[in-house]
């Protein structure tokens, strides 16, 4: 079983790693690169805790091979904040208490960020459907949805940061 040498970009930085063919991008992030913010909740694409953005598209890092990352641009939860400045979604999650245990939170924040990259004015229903692939067992989603809608308002300049 020969390892693949992969050159890729993660959170704006060039990264090289070796991975086995069956290792997923999530395995690589967590076990090879020590980027443990992306979580494994199911390893089958059903929970969204491992959400990352690859070449601008939201996907589950558990459903992508590490070897496929060659030449891609990957954004993980570790790259959502701008240094010590939180992204509005992160800030609103804190203000709205949109997390309880916090395990699904990285995936939800990456997914919500991807939504707002595409649509700064989503309806509640659009937000709920966009985030349907991110399971949260703690919150009942209420505060999560409010936080995302509020973050969108901030990014539109209609609400306070």
């Amino acid at each position: 079983m020969s390892k693949h040498h992969v050159s890729t970009t993660i959170n704006g930085e060039s990264v090289e790693f070796l991975c086995e063919p069956q290792q997923t991008l999530l395995d690589v992030l967590r076990d090879e690169l020590n980027l443990t913010g992306s979580k494994e909740g199911c390893a089958s694409g059903d929970c969204g805790a491992c959400s990352v953005i690859v070449d601008g598209r939201l996907c589950c890092s558990c459903l992508m091979l590490g070897a496929e990352a060659e030449g891609r641009r990957i954004q993980t939860i570790e790259g959502i904040a701008d240094g010590d400045r939180l992204h509005p979604v992160q800030q609103k999650f804190l203000e709205h208490a949109a997390l309880q245990c916090g395990f699904c939170t990285p995936g939800l924040i990456v997914a919500a960020k991807a939504l707002l990259d595409e649509n700064l004015n989503p309806s509640e229903e659009e937000t709920r459907y966009w985030l349907a692939g991110n399971l949260c067992r703690c919150t009942g989603y209420d505060k999560v949805i409010r936080a995302v809608l509020d973050a969108a308002a901030v990014m539109r300049g209609e609400a306070a940061e």
Partner: protein
């Protein structure tokens, strides 16, 4: 300890600050169970039984040990025999021998997924490969899954040393009925004789999983001298230490259990599965071992709560006043005794003033995973039956279901069927708030229906420790012993800040490991804000005494002449002398000269947790051609005592409702004929997703609990009690059909509608 009775006196409690661990959790920095690594670490994996019930004839690890990279294989033979002993380590009293054998099967595998061996290797892939090289020889035995089949004469018996407890005389034949419990009040026959209407119904529920998103995970390192460090995600580091110590035969002092962040538990992480195995693998290999369950393992081998049969008979007068109630609860315990049937029995009728009642519960073994605590264990099942039946009674009598509840509601002074006489309870207050709610008055469209249901949970107190340290710069560190599963660091810091009179931002809370803080029972039973908060407040009060003493030394007056207000020491009055007040910063700066560091640690066994009551309103719309229910609107009304951090109280209410809706509509364990779980993943174990849910409105009724310094009651569990009946009652209102079997999934709803339609057609 002083009780702050009025809200106006509170500066921090009742506000909504950002949680102290929040930034780490929104940036991916928080370290959960699976995020830990250690140098030289191995990966452990578990070999599990493919059979629901089988005798283990032999286990041959030979080929696995020969695989390069495999460092250790363990089986039951590596564990000491633990004698049967009831221990109070986790959420409920548990038999240590059963816990040990649940972690690793002894002579029989009792459910599909039961661990029979484990391996440690240098990579997850090698460990996985090694599992296939362990040869296990089984003799497959007949199995039994359903509760009444397991109770029947001639059923396959799981344990030949289990005789039904609670019967007189003691039975001589082993049985799958591990226990019978009974609670009675008044004269049940007389009560039914007085009734003008009697209705008798049977309800069933399926096992449902806690379905925390984080699978169980740990890293365990055992050194050659026996000293061990456990890093794991659980609802209690002391629980992990306690169980592991007993199962592996190690001294408590040799185990340091460090709580990782926990990715949800809901009761399911109040017992251990992995830590004793990782301990043995580490001991045998001489290297740290990490074990992380797959989602499939979580479903097959951990949790769930009981599936059950609930029989309810209610007798009432025409005005809706209950004269008698009889409830029979048959709960699955899984492969070992210990279903929450006792709590089911105590909660079944706790909300009502029933003069004559009899509640009987059966704890029933079957070839399913051993049940684990799940949010208000036992109560939602019993309440689904009783609260549905009460709705049926109200319909039969042509009465408003809310009015029937008011007529029979337990009040202060009511003696509950299970014994206690209520004081300071808020059930009626929730009914009044329900009546006053805008939701109850909102119009409904065609095909829509509204249901209400109530719930009760006793909440827990118990052992907690807390330390409050005043740092050299006057900031404060609060160390507690409870893993923070939903924002409790914030409430601990808030209560400390409130008591000390300092800003919230100057208090940093941490969750201590088992060597950093005194024993603390687990995060469970909705006890942390109550018991943990009480310990923190008492520690803060001791610190205030010390701060006053230090001010007294500085001023050279008596400590009794010092008063603590707004985070400062003041002379208590004109007689005390005239001094500029001393702030915490000033006192801390001089601590070395006035006697050294200032801190206090407090250990308590908290009593007086107030019970929790809730009433929920649910609107549904049914697609009558497909049977699918859509939850249109939902309001949870709850007596929360006093909300310390209202956002996290609302969050508990909303989360409980969402889990209850999942339980009501789609969640269930599905087995094939061989006793193998068919839906061990989130694809077919259908928890609610964001698009399934409406916003969940919350109404926090505050009937303060005078036994807590700030009036707190447990809030986390009672919100999962009412939803199943609230949804069933709403579906009945929308369609006219009564669903008595959970989950109320589309095929069941459609079949019920179709079964009724011909009748209606005939009547027209």
């Amino acid at each position: 300890m002083t009780f702050v009775g009025t809200k106006e006196d509170l500066k921090v409690v009742g506000t909504r600050p950002i949680r102290p661990d929040g930034v780490d959790k929104v940036t991916g920095r928080a370290t959960f169970g699976a995020d830990m690594t250690m140098p030289g670490m191995l990966w452990g994996k578990i070999k599990r039984s493919p059979y629901a019930h089988a005798r283990i004839l032999s286990i041959d690890p030979g080929k696995a040990l020969a695989l390069p990279g495999v460092k250790a294989v363990i089986t039951r033979a590596d564990f000491p025999d633990v004698p049967p002993e009831l221990a109070y380590i986790g959420a409920a009293p548990a038999n240590l021998r059963d816990q040990s054998r649940n972690c690793m099967a002894k002579s029989k595998a009792l459910y599909e997924g039961h661990a029979v061996a484990a391996v440690a290797a240098t990579s997850p892939a090698i460990a996985e490969e090694a599992l296939d090289l362990i040869t296990v020889e089984y003799e497959v035995l007949p199995h039994v899954l359903e509760v009444e089949e397991a109770m029947a004469e001639g059923a396959p018996i799981l344990h030949d040393d289990v005789f039904t407890a609670g019967l007189d005389p003691k039975p001589t034949k082993p049985s799958n009925v591990a226990k019978r419990v009974q609670f009675a009040k008044g004269d049940i026959d007389q009560g039914f004789a007085e009734a003008e209407v009697v209705i008798e119904r049977r309800y069933t529920t399926k096992p449902v999983h806690q379905a925390y998103i984080e699978p169980h995970a740990c890293v365990v390192s055992v050194a050659a001298d026996g000293q061990c460090t456990i890093w794991s995600s659980s609802q209690g580091q002391f629980m992990v230490r306690g169980y592991t110590s007993r199962i592996v035969g190690a001294d408590l002092a040799n185990i340091r259990a460090i709580p990782a962040e926990i990715g949800g538990g809901f009761g399911g992480k109040t017992i251990v599965y992995l830590e004793p195995l990782a301990y043995m693998l580490s001991k045998k290999s001489g290297r740290p071992v990490k074990m992380v369950m797959s989602r499939e393992e979580v479903f097959r081998a951990t949790g769930p709560t009981s599936g059950a049969v609930i029989e309810v008979r209610l007798g009432a007068r025409k005005d809706g006043r209950l004269t008698a109630a009889e409830v029979v609860l048959k709960y699955q315990s899984g492969a070992f005794p210990g279903s929450p049937v006792n709590q089911g029995c105590t909660c079944a009728l706790a909300m009502y003033d029933v003069p004559n009642a009899l509640v009987t519960g059966y704890d029933v073994l079957s070839n399913r995973p051993k049940v684990a605590a799940y949010r208000a264990p036992g109560a939602p099942i019993a309440s689904f039956g009783v609260e549905s039946c009460l709705d049926e009674l109200a319909r039969e009598l042509g009465l408003d279901p809310l009015a029937v509840r008011e007529t029979n509601a337990a009040r202060d002074g009511t003696k509950a069927v299970h014994g206690p006489t209520w004081v300071n309870i808020g059930y009626l207050a929730t009914l009044e708030a329900t009546k006053a709610s805008e939701h109850l008055k909102a119009p409904l469209g065609p095909g829509q229906g509204r249901g209400i249901a109530s719930g009760y949970w006793h909440n827990a107190g118990g052992e907690s420790s807390a330390a409050v340290h005043v740092n050299e710069d006057g900031t404060v560190t609060v160390t507690g012993g409870h893993p923070d599963i939903g924002g409790s660091r914030a409430s601990m810091a808030m209560m400390a800040a409130e008591a000390l009179g300092v800003p919230y931002e100057r208090v940093r809370p941490v969750v201590g490991d088992t060597t950093a803080i005194g024993f603390s029972a687990s995060t469970g039973g909705s006890r942390v804000t109550f018991a943990g908060g009480m310990a923190v407040t008492r520690a803060a009060e001791k610190v205030i005494d010390e701060l006053k003493r230090r001010a007294a030394i500085t001023w050279d007056i008596s400590p009794e002449a010092v008063e603590w207000r707004d985070g400062k020491a003041f002379p208590a009055g004109a007689n005390a002398g005239s001094f500029e007040p001393l702030s915490m910063v000033q006192i801390a700066a001089k601590a070395a000269r006035t006697g050294g560091p200032i801190s206090a640690e407090v250990q308590i066994n908290a009593q007086g947790q107030g019970p929790g009551f809730a009433t929920h309103i649910c609107d549904v719309e049914i697609d009558k051609e497909t049977g699918r229910a859509k939850i249109l609107r939902y309001t949870a009304i709850q007596d929360v005592g006093r909300a310390i951090h209202p956002s996290y109280v609302e969050g508990q209410m909303q989360g409980g409702v969402a889990q209850g809706i999942g339980w009501a509509l789609n969640e269930e364990y599905i087995y094939d004929k061989e006793g193998r779980l068919e839906n061990p993943g989130f694809l077919d174990y259908r928890v609610p997703v964001a698009s399934d849910m409406p916003m969940i409105e919350t109404v926090m009724v505050e009937v303060p609990n005078p036994r807590h310094p700030f009036g707190a009651r447990g809030v986390g569990e009672v919100p999962i009690v009412p939803p199943m009946a609230a949804v069933a009652n709403a579906i009945c209102a929308a369609t006219g059909v009564r669903l008595r079997d959970l989950p109320m999934s589309p095929p069941k709803v459609l079949a019920a509608i179709d079964a009724r339609e011909p009748l209606r057609a005939a009547a027209d």
